[in-house]
Structure formats: structure tokens, C-alpha cells
Symmetry: C2
Subunit: 456 residues, 2 copies
């Protein structure tokens, strides 16, 4: 019998990848460090959510589970900004029918594991720590967390979907003679804060928006859950002069901070002090590496090869897109794994690096620029240009509502910065941009230059 395909890590990417491989008829063994979430529940039972956008949905569709997931997802059509006085500003993400969707991380993972499990040829093994692997055979070694039973699994090939601190990546790093690797932490941490439903079970804020409290150097955000709650997340520097976690120890310090910056959120978080003290402060890391594979034997995917910060909502989406692209390559190359993995490794890394850059840049946008009238004006003009010239896609649309490779979106975004620099320099543009004749002229000139560059 042929050796099975081995997947290390049954998180979102690993379990989706198991589904796609099962659909193609492969025997798949999945090993996961944590306990079975269907029995154990998710860590602390907290509602943690993620924003699914078009790249994620495409993968869901390919796995045949788009409709199931969509039923438990809440559309968010734009950002709702809260200023320090509690005043709200809304800024749509795209056109009226475009939205990103808040989905439960735990619920989605259980759903994907259940679907994979329905295929007889997928077998899950929970509670196994990966100790390392030999890439040539390839064989992976595990130890059960409780029984300390050890076992080695020989596979036809091994996929590492074991997250940002991947054991499979660590083995690749040792096995490959020249492995390029970087881990880079932000000086910021994040803390989740629970916003429960109102007394009558409703959402305490408009559920069809992603809420942002932009405060320049820091921010809070909140995404809706289907149970009527929101998950709030505070992003704040660990240390330093501006408000920072290290300055918030006593109840008085924490309350004073919230009263100054997030006063409208205080009544929404009834257990604010308890949550602030007890919930962990977690770090934000960007991981880049190259290559992602050892021949056609081992490949790392998702956070294991490209962990990014969460500010473009593309961590899960880019991991799911890895699955889509591999599945498409496998289709195109008629099951030839050697070519599939070679092409994926040669083409995908630059796109992962691009979304890593975009995600870092978007932190500044979310915590600072969304509160800037010039920035909102740019968004409005971009939406207008998109309506008049559908071939013009704003950067956010390219990343979130398209399947354009991230590296092309990044390059296009940089070109658009130049365009809007010219447009926003027009005299009194903020007063009368609608129908401003110069906008059309500048835009046409920019498009012509762009085409000239493209054909050059």
C-alpha cells in the first residue's frame, strides 16, 4: 500500500487541506498537538473570531462548504470608527454588496475537522507533539502529550500546518543547508476583552461593521459573534511613553486609561478590570522564510511558513489561499506533486511577503489614518473612480475582494499612492471633489502612464 500523506497540525489550514486532499482520493493522516476541539472545546471557551474575505470563501467553495459556513458568518460592510467622545463615522469596505465576514475560529475549525472526518480516508490523531522529522524518507516523529507514547510515521509527503512556531519548519531549518528565516515581533501586544450581548440578547453595537477606536499610536477593535457578543481587542505598546501595557497595573490606572480613550466602551465591557487582569497579553509576530519545501517531500503552509500580523484580516485567508493554489496546481499538473510543490514554492513566497508588508502597513492605517479626514476623502474618491472606471480597483478591494496575487496588489497600491498624492494636492479638493474636472484628467494621465509602463 502507498504511504499516506501526513499533515502536521489540525488547525484551520491543516484541516481544510485534509478535506481537499481527501476529495482527491488521498489517504491522509493528521497529527495535532492539542486535544480534539470537538471534545475539549476551545481554549477558555472564549469567542475568538476572524474576518473571512473572498480568498477564504474561494477555498470554502472548493471544499464544498461555503454555504454551511456562510450561515454562521456575520457580514461586516465597513469600518465604524469611534472617536473619544463616542461619535461614530462609517466607512464602507467596498460596494454595497461587498463585505468581510466575522466567523468563529473555533466553530470553523470544528466544522472543517468534521467534514474531513466524513471522508473515510482521513484519520485524525490528537494530543501528539511533533518532535521533528527526517525530510528525505520522509518520516515524522511524535510523542503523545499524556501517555508519552512515541511513534514515527513514514509518509509519501509531509505538510507542516503547525502554525507560527512550527516544529516542521524547525526541522526544515536544520535539514536545509541555506534556509532563510526571520521572526520579527511588533513592540505592541494585544489583549482580548469580551463585550457580552445586551439584556435582551442583542448585539450591543451595530453587528454589521468592524468597530475601531483609532487613537493614533494604539487602538481597540471589536468584531461581532453570532451569539450576540463582540470580541474586543486592544492593541497597545508593551513599553514606552505613550500609553503602554507596562503602565497599566492597578485598577485605577486601567480605568483612567479607558475613561480617557475608550469611555463609550466602558459600559460595553462589564468585567473590564477582571478581563484586563486575567486575559493574557499576546505578542504579534511576522515570520518569513525561504524555501518552504524540501524537494517534493516536505512543504510548510499557512502560519508555519508565513505568519503575519492581523491588521489586514488576511492571516487565515492567505493560509486558505495556499490550499486553493496547491489544489489548482495539482489539477493543472495532473497530480504531479514534484511540479506542484516546485511551482508553489517559486511563486507563492513573494506574495506571502507582500501580504506581510501590507498587514504591517495597515496597522498604521487602522490605528491612525482612519481618523484622518484626508484619508477618508481618499477612500471616497477611490470608490468614485472605481464606479466610473470599473477597471480601477482600490488597494483594499484588490486584497480583500479579489484573487489578484498579493505582490501585484502591493505594487498597485504603491502606484495608487502616487495618484492620490496628486489628486489630494488639488486646491480645496476637500470642499468640492465631486465633479472636479482635474480628478478625471489626473486619473486618465495616471492610467495612460501605467499602461505605458506595463507594455514597456
Amino acid at each position: 500500500m502507498k504511504d499516506p500523506i501526513l499533515i502536521v497540525g489540525a488547525g484551520l489550514v491543516g484541516s481544510l487541506w485534509a478535506v481537499l486532499l481527501a476529495k482527491r482520493g488521498y489517504q491522509v493522516e493528521v497529527f495535532e498537538l492539542r486535544d480534539d476541539p470537538r471534545r475539549a472545546g476551545f481554549k477558555g471557551g472564549r469567542s475568538i473570531n476572524l474576518a473571512m474575505s473572498d480568498r477564504g470563501w474561494k477555498a470554502m467553495e472548493r471544499a464544498g462548504i461555503k454555504d454551511t459556513i456562510r450561515q454562521q458568518a456575520i457580514p461586516m460592510h465597513g469600518r465604524k470608527m469611534h472617536d473619544t467622545t463616542g461619535q461614530l463615522t462609517f466607512q464602507p469596505y467596498g460596494e454595497a454588496d461587498q463585505a468581510i465576514y466575522s466567523v468563529s475560529r473555533g466553530g470553523l475549525n470544528i466544522e472543517l475537522i468534521n467534514i474531513a472526518d466524513q471522508y473515510g480516508q482521513v484519520k485524525f490523531h490528537f494530543g501528539y507533539k511533533c518532535l521533528g522529522l527526517e525530510a528525505e524518507s520522509p518520516t515524522a516523529h511524535f510523542e503523545h502529550r499524556e501517555t508519552v507514547e512515541r511513534l514515527s510515521v513514514k509518509a509519501s509527503r509531509i505538510f507542516g500546518t503547525d502554525g507560527a512556531f512550527s516544529a516542521v519548519r524547525r526541522s526544515l531549518m536544520k535539514a536545509l543547508p541555506r534556509f532563510n528565516y526571520s521572526q520579527s515581533f511588533l513592540d505592541y501586544g494585544y489583549k482580548e476583552l469580551h463585550i457580552p450581548p445586551t439584556a435582551d440578547g442583542k448585539h450591543a453595537l451595530d453587528p454589521n461593521a468592524l468597530h475601531i477606536w483609532p487613537r493614533g499610536q494604539f487602538m481597540m477593535i471589536a468584531l461581532p459573534n453570532v451569539d450576540g457578543s463582540f470580541t474586543g481587542t486592544l492593541f497597545l505598546a508593551y513599553e514606552g511613553q505613550t500609553p503602554a501595557f507596562e503602565q497599566l497595573h492597578t485598577d485605577e490606572q486601567i480605568m483612567a486609561f479607558f475613561e480617557q480613550y475608550f469611555s463609550d466602551a466602558i459600559p460595553l465591557i462589564p468585567n473590564l478590570l477582571e478581563e484586563f487582569h486575567e486575559n493574557p497579553t499576546s505578542s504579534l509576530v511576522t515570520i518569513r522564510c525561504s524555501p518552504w519545501c524540501c524537494e517534493d517531500k516536505v512543504l510548510i503552509m499557512g502560519d508555519a511558513s508565513h505568519a503575519i500580523v492581523p491588521f489586514y484580516g488576511q492571516g487565515m485567508n492567505s493560509g486558505f489561499e495556499d490550499c486553493t493554489l496547491l489544489d489548482e496546481l495539482l489539477e493543472e499538473h495532473q497530480g504531479n506533486w514534484t511540479t506542484t510543490i516546485e511551482v508553489f514554492n517559486a511563486t507563492r513566497i513573494k506574495n506571502a511577503n507582500a501580504i506581510a508588508d501590507l498587514a504591517l502597513r495597515n496597522f498604521v492605517e487602522m490605528r491612525d489614518k482612519v481618523a484622518d479626514p484626508k484619508f477618508l476623502l481618499r477612500k471616497e474618491i477611490a470608490a468614485h473612480l472605481n464606479k466610473v472606471h470599473p477597471e480601477f480597483l482600490p488597494l483594499y478591494t484588490q486584497v480583500t475582494f479579489s484573487h489578484i496575487p498579493y505582490s501585484e496588489a502591493l505594487a498597485e497600491g504603491e502606484a495608487q499612492d502616487a495618484l492620490f498624492e496628486d489628486i489630494l494636492a488639488l486646491k480645496d479638493i476637500e470642499k468640492n471633489w465631486k465633479g472636479h474636472p482635474e480628478i478625471e484628467r489626473i486619473f486618465k494621465q495616471w492610467m495612460a502612464n501605467r499602461q505605458a509602463r506595463a507594455t514597456a
Copy 2:
């Protein structure tokens, strides 16, 4: 009795650091993975040399061994370029009395160990592999390579000078919650080739120059040894279209390659084929990380915290400068280690990153630009400006013949690029740059702008 200071790694930086600490009266224990080079000799007995420049000499002076080392060093006053026909061009590094010095890596290491050993309070332990450490105590664990005896050493503080693949750094990476780290390999490898003395014991090439065979995408260099030999080093891509190591397997392929690109070097390397087949192809890595310390308990220095590619000749020099700077800080802060390590960590990392960038950039300069008449013209004009305006220091001079922090040199180099872009754009500049009135005008304008920026 007070716990001793522990140094992990008795290479160049570790043994120099032991000398400087001993001079201050500290008890020092030094553990080294390899055998005692005084007994074992250096790997394969090959002559490997390094270029010592002002930053290194300053550290030698501080250790009181400048004169001893200088006696065994060969001054190189400039670069001697070999074109494909064997024609030579000389380009001085600075003024007539300025030179970099070729020193034997092994000889220098032995000298430093000997000097440290003369201090009763320094103890060397060879053949011990560092298995890891606990930063808090701090305690390091070792295993003897042959006897497999294990021992743990508690220290007042631990310095990791154990090179690019540092075990101490690996422990810091695990101990610190947010350790930023990157390892980045060039797609190039290098191979050393021995150029023996002539029959009458003389150097086969001018010994007072660093020889370069620049070939655009690749190059060979050679540095003189005191025994009359040269160490040649070929830098070449591992793979690809241009000549690459993967294309050089058979004797015919190797000879054809040398005949086409390095024909004047063939008679200099009598064992060319044997050396090419048997000497390893080594990789070129840049390592950056932050922080370099765990409180005031553990600090990594030299290649352990900032390995760089060799193209600016600053790997050893920057490691030695780490020792000088720490020693100066210790002097300034009257033995206060907490402040010394804190200030070093806060100020040195940006300079290490700057020399890493400069070294990568200099590869292009050495393999390609030194063969470009425009580049040589720039060097000549820069030397002229330096003579007329001594406050103007060319970038190479700042890095090699000064103690200006590397990050300032890098910024200055970028400013100088703009200056020379303007100067070299002058009509017919290559024909009559001497006394060209425009050069003085452009230079004065540039200096005025620079001063305006500095005071702004």
C-alpha cells in the same frame, strides 16, 4: 568568592574579550567547542587570512598587543584589479600611509589565547560543547566532546562569542519572549584556493595589495600571507545561468571556466583541480537579531549577534569593536555592568545592521563596479575632495580608517551617492575633472545643504 565571568567561544572575539576582562581584574572562564589551537593547529593547516583595519587595531592597542600583531601583518594599500587579459589596475584605499593589513586568522587567535593565558585569572577549557543555558541564574551547561562529561557553570554573567551559529543565541531565543531574529543566505558560495610562494620563496603577486578578479556576477580575490603564499577565494553563485558551482564538476568544466575568466591565475594555483574538488564550498550568511542581551546576565557579541558577509572586511573588525565599546562603557560607568550592557544593546545594534548592509552592498562593488571606469573616476574625485577638504571623508575611509559609528557612515555614504551623481553627470567629466570649476561649486552646495540639514 564571586562567580567568574563566563565566555562561551574562544575564537577571535572571545579570546580578545578575555584579555580585556583580565586586564580589569575579573576572573574569567572560557569554554570552547574546538580543541586548543595551540596543540591541534588550525583546521587543515590552511592559511586563512583576514583584513585588519583601524577598528581592529584600536582593540589590539587596548589589549596592549598592537605591535606584536603588526609585526606579522602585511599592509595592503589598495586593490589590484586583474582583467580577463591579465592587465592590472591599482586603486588605493586611501592616502599613501593608509592600509588594511592581512593577518593570519589562526595565528592571531593563538596569540590572543596565549596573552589571555598569561593572566592567572583566565582559565580556558577546550573541547566543550555548549548545550544551553539558563539566563536568570545565569548558568551554562556543557558536554565534553570526547569524554561526554557534563558540567554546569554558574557565572556572574555570560558572554556568548560562539559565532554565527551560536548556541548562546539559541538559548536567548528560547528565553526571551520577543526575540527578533533573521538569518539570510546569499545565493553565492565561496571556495578557497591556495597560491603558494614562488620557487625562491617570494610572493607570486604584489603582496601589498588585495587582488581582485572582478567578473560582474562573480569574482576571485587573493590576500597575502607572511609565508609568501596567498589565499585566493572564489565567490560564485551556487546555481543558475551565469557560471555557477553546480556547473563546475568535471576537470574540463573547471579548466574551461578558469581559462575563460581567470587565465592569469592558473599558473599561480598549481593544485587548482585538486583544490577545487576537495576544498569545501562554504555559504555566506547575514545574521541580525535584537535584543543581544537578557538583562545584565547574558550578552552575545561578534558573529553570535551580527554575522556579516566578508566583502567590507569588517567581520572581525566589528567584533573587535564590540570589545572596545564595552570596555569603554565599563570605564565610563565605573564597572557598572547593568548600565554598560543596557547602553551597548541600545546603541550598537543599529551599527551592526548598518555594516551588514554595507557589506552586502560592497559585494556588488567588488565583483562588478571596480571594473567600471566611472566608479574609479568617482574614487579619484573623492580622494581629491578629501585632500582639498579634509573634513570630507569618503565612505570607504569612514568605515575602514575611522571609528565613526557604522550607521553614520552608511547615512553619509547615501548622501555622497547623491553628490557624485551630480558630479559625474557633468559633461565630459571623465576627460577633464582635474580643476573642473563645477566640482567645487557642486561640492560646496552639497556641504552647505548637509550642514543645514544637520542643524535643522
